[in-house]
Structures are given as structure tokens and as C-alpha cells.
């Protein structure tokens, strides 16, 4: 089991962005507007971990390194972790618990509406990430966890909408996400095609295999 030995290392690596931020904060090296830097950094890493989570499936299939699946939950939970830090930075450091203004932001500012939605949608995924929840939900677990597509799309839109003018960086994330989603569409289409060839109605078994692949 390769994953067994790598897991603690990957776990520590996932904490590096936070450690770096804490180190800079401790040394007053976050520049003129530290809260903004913390907001941006945690937001960026949320997106990065969402992309990493979504890249596990294509990566393990294409490289035949099936053991990679064992990292998916950890990466997904780190996306939620950095997303929570991002949201906490917003309501605590940035807004300082001004719930009235936060509520107004969520309703009136499209980029906050979509960002907040992405965060809320991540909550059930994090809560149902345990073995027990997986067993308990059965097939519904997979359906539920497809929400990550919505989360990632909303996250990228959140980034695109908040930028004033220079779209280069958010569009990089949009491009990566497009590739990751396109992979799923292609796999799904190919399966449908092969199903139609063998018989007109796809058998339940084949249907399941499509589900299993994403």
C-alpha cells in the first residue's frame, strides 16, 4: 500500500499554505492590507484543493495508479478546510461579525452570493465524508457528492466576478476546471455510445459502472 506511507506526508504538505500564512502573520510580513492577503490566500487554496480533488479520478484512470483514490477524501476535506478559513476570514476579520452587512452582501453581491453558495454546498460533502456516512447513504452518496462539480464551478465564478479587470488568474482556474469536467463528459459520452452499441437499453450493471467511474 503506497498510500499508507504517503498519507502523513501529503497531509503535512496540505498544511504548508496555512503554515506559510501563519509565519508571515507572525512576522508582520503580510503587507499593507493583511486581511486582504489572508482572504486571497485562503480563497486561492480552496480552489486549488478543489481542482486537486477533481483531478484524482482522471489521474488514476489515465495513469492506472488506482491507489490514488485514497487521497481524494483528504484533498476534498482540505478544500473544505481552506474554504472554512476563507469564510471565517470574511465574517470575522473582514466584516467583524457585522451580520447585517454580511446578509446584505450575500443577497446583493453576486460574487459573494455565488461564493457563499459554494461554501454551503461543501458542508454536506464534508459531513458525509466518513466511512459510516458512505455506507449509510449507499448509492445516494455518489449522487450527493457530485455536488463538488457545482461547488467548483461556483468557486471559479466567484473568482471571475470579484476581479475588477484583469481576468488572467481566474481564467486559468476556469481552463483547468473545464478540462477536468470535459474529461467526465467524454467518459460519460463514450459509455453511452458503447452501451447503445451492445443493446438499445443500457443494463443496470453498465449504468453502475458509469457511476463508478466518476
Amino acid at each position: 500500500m503506497k498510500a499508507k506511507y504517503f498519507k502523513p506526508l501529503v497531509f503535512l504538505a496540505c498544511l504548508v499554505p496555512l503554515g506559510r500564512l501563519a509565519w508571515k502573520a507572525w512576522n508582520s510580513a503580510l503587507g499593507a492590507n493583511p486581511i486582504q492577503v489572508i482572504t486571497w490566500s485562503t480563497g486561492t487554496w480552496t480552489l486549488v484543493f478543489l481542482m486537486l480533488t477533481l483531478s484524482i479520478t482522471p489521474l488514476r484512470i489515465l495513469t492506472r495508479q488506482y491507489w490514488l483514490i485514497q487521497f481524494r477524501r483528504m484533498l476534498g476535506l482540505f478544500a473544505f478546510f481552506y474554504g472554512s478559513l476563507h469564510f471565517t476570514t470574511y465574517f470575522w476579520l473582514d466584516q467583524f461579525f457585522d451580520w447585517h452587512s454580511i446578509a446584505k452582501d450575500v443577497v446583493k453581491r453576486p460574487f459573494i452570493t455565488v461564493g457563499f453558495t459554494a461554501f454551503v454546498l461543501m458542508v454536506p460533502l464534508a459531513l458525509t465524508s466518513t466511512q459510516r456516512a458512505i455506507r449509510w447513504l449507499g448509492k445516494r452518496w455518489q449522487m450527493l457528492h457530485r455536488l463538488i462539480y457545482a461547488v467548483a464551478i461556483a468557486g471559479v465564478i466567484h473568482y471571475i466576478w470579484l476581479v475588477k479587470r484583469d481576468l488572467r488568474k481566474p481564467l486559468i482556474y476556469a481552463a483547468i476546471l473545464s478540462v477536468l469536467l470535459l474529461y467526465r463528459v467524454v467518459v460519460w459520452a463514450l459509455h453511452r455510445l458503447s452501451n447503445e452499441r451492445t443493446e438499445n437499453k443500457p443494463s443496470p450493471a453498465l449504468k453502475r459502472s458509469v457511476v463508478a467511474i466518476d
Partner: protein, 318 residues
């Protein structure tokens, strides 16, 4: 990823000022004067105009009743956290990218509907009556600073060219030179940067052309050698590195209005009651402070400027 390494210490802080100024003068070809540099500070009087005004040169100025007594933002924050899209869309980058920009020599053409159009040399501006104006600066992004500008009232310059009765607006244009201003190599905005004011706004005593900061000539990244400051408007109205000031009869279209008309209007007065479509303007974070403070109408300059807009719907004329 988005956290920048702390920028290198500007060369001005490593090399003693006297020394590097001497060096630049020498390199500037004023060889004959090098010996005289040692003689002392009077040297700038002897130098030819285009060589006398160097970045970081101390300026002579008087105080002004228009200055605020609020705590001033540290120079390092003013010079290392600002928007200057001609260099970068990242607020942490202009400091480094503008390091080698040489704003001298420089001239400002004041033209258009005036009786005596005139081209001003930057050195002539620096020799005018300079004043320190400590102003609040509110960025449209929701942060603010208190900046001690060294400036001349814009009206002083405009009065010299004598605008005629047809002049209703003033149009400002920045330098367009993608080689010297690398940010212009991408069409983030429609270069050059253009800004505009109504005539009465331009003539208002609070409206200034800043040529310095903290007692010295403007750092490159803050708009050297000359920039506009209109303290009751959002910061982006303060066009930097101005080359042309034109008196016109129509309302100019500013660069940001052109880019996103629904987000940036012509007036762009600081107004906590009119939100930017994508964020609230009710509060701001003063750089260096933890909690946000409420944003004041006209950035706290309402007593002086509110009368300019009587009868106007400021929600429509944002």
C-alpha cells in the same frame, strides 16, 4: 501563491540619498557640475532644469488649512500598496516594476479651449508655490489612507492658461509608452488612461496636482512626476503621470467608465449610500487598522464640495 515576498528594499534606502543623486547627475551627463555637487545643497539651482528634479528630491513647501490632522499612513504602505495598472494590476507590484522608470525630463501640455495654451516643464511646476496637503484617500475597492501630498492647486495652472467661456470640462491624459509602462502591453484598459473633471470641480481649491509625497518628489509608483488628487472622489480619479490637460466643451469619458460604464461613472464621488454594483461602499478599511470604519459622504469633504452637486441625483450621477 498570492502572497508576495516582501519587496526588495528600494535602492533609495540602501544608497545614501546624496550619493545616488550625485551618481545620477554624473550619469546624466552633467559632468562639469560633478565637482560642484560637493559644495552643498544649493547645487540644484545651478543644474539645468531637466536634471534638477530627481526622484526623492526634497521639496520646499508651505502648510495648508485644507490638511487633515489624522494619523498619516506610513510611506512604505503608500509606496507598496497601490493601484497603478500601467505597471501591474497587482497592488504589491508597482513598487518594484516602476523602479527604473525615469520621469525626467517631463512636460505637461495644457491646451484646448484656453486663451493662452502652454506647455509646462515639470521643473517649472516644482518651482511654483508648493503646499503640503494631507488628504484622506478612499479607494473604490474599500480601503483608505491618509497621504501627505506636496502639491499645487490645479486652479493655479488653469488660471495661467486662461480657460475661455466654452471650456466646461477638463480632460487629463496619462503617458502612453508601453516600453516604459509595461502594464500597457496588455489591453486591461484602453490606453492611455484618461480622466475628467467638470470645470468647477477642477477649479475647486481642494483639487490638486501632486508632485510630491512626504516632503519629497513623487515616487515613481505613485504617479511621478505629476498626478491628480481629488480627495472627495474615489482614488482612480487621481490619474498618474499626466502629459496632457485639455480644456473641452464635452464631458470626457474616463478610462474606467469606458471599461465598465455600469461600475464607474464620471463623477465617482465617494458616497457610502451608493454601492458599487459588486460591493458595498458603506465602510472602508483604513490601512493599518483592524476594524472597518464607516465611509463618509464625499470622503468627509462634504462641507467644502457638497454645494457643487446641489440638485443632482447622486444615485444616477455616480
Amino acid at each position: 501563491m498570492l502572497i508576495k515576498k516582501p519587496s526588495d528594499i528600494p535602492s533609495s534606502e540602501i544608497t545614501p540619498k546624496g550619493l545616488y543623486i550625485t551618481r545620477r547627475r554624473f550619469l546624466g551627463g552633467a559632468g562639469a557640475l560633478v565637482g560642484a555637487v560637493a559644495a552643498g545643497s544649493e547645487i540644484s539651482e545651478i543644474l539645468s532644469p531637466s536634471q534638477s528634479a530627481l526622484a526623492g528630491t526634497k521639496l520646499q513647501y508651505s502648510q495648508s488649512q485644507y490638511s487633515t490632522s489624522e494619523k498619516q499612513t506610513p510611506l512604505n504602505d503608500i509606496t507598496h500598496y497601490n493601484n497603478y495598472y500601467e505597471f501591474s494590476t497587482d497592488k504589491y507590484e508597482p513598487a518594484e516594476l516602476a523602479k527604473n522608470f525615469n520621469p525626467f525630463p517631463w512636460t505637461i501640455k495644457v491646451e484646448g479651449l484656453a486663451n493662452k495654451p502652454k506647455t509646462f516643464d515639470i521643473d517649472a511646476l516644482l518651482k511654483m508655490q508648493l503646499q503640503e496637503r494631507i488628504y484622506r484617500m478612499r479607494c473604490v475597492e474599500g480601503w483608505s489612507m491618509v497621504i501627505p501630498w506636496i502639491a499645487i492647486p490645479l486652479s493655479a495652472l488653469l488660471n495661467e492658461v486662461q480657460p475661455n467661456s466654452k471650456a466646461k470640462f477638463v480632460e487629463f491624459t496619462s503617458l502612453k509608452d508601453p516600453k516604459r509602462l509595461p502594464g500597457q502591453q496588455r489591453n486591461v484598459l484602453d490606453w492611455p488612461y484618461v480622466e475628467g473633471l467638470r470645470m468647477d470641480e477642477a477649479m475647486h481649491p481642494l483639487t490638486i496636482l501632486a508632485v510630491g509625497l512626504y516632503g519629497e518628489t513623487l515616487p515613481n509608483q505613485d504617479g511621478a512626476p505629476v498626478r491628480l488628487v481629488v480627495p472627495w472622489k474615489y482614488g482612480f480619479k487621481g490619474i498618474k503621470a499626466i502629459v496632457t490637460i485639455k480644456l473641452v466643451d464635452h464631458q470626457p469619458t474616463s478610462a474606467w467608465t469606458k471599461a465598465a460604464p455600469s461600475e464607474y461613472g464620471f463623477y465617482s464621488n465617494v458616497n457610502p449610500n451608493v454601492d458599487h454594483p459588486r460591493w458595498s461602499q458603506a465602510k472602508e478599511r483604513r490601512i493599518g487598522e483592524f476594524t472597518k470604519r464607516p465611509t463618509l459622504m464625499f470622503n468627509g469633504y462634504g462641507d467644502q464640495v457638497a454645494s457643487l452637486y446641489t440638485g443632482m441625483d447622486l444615485k444616477k450621477n455616480y
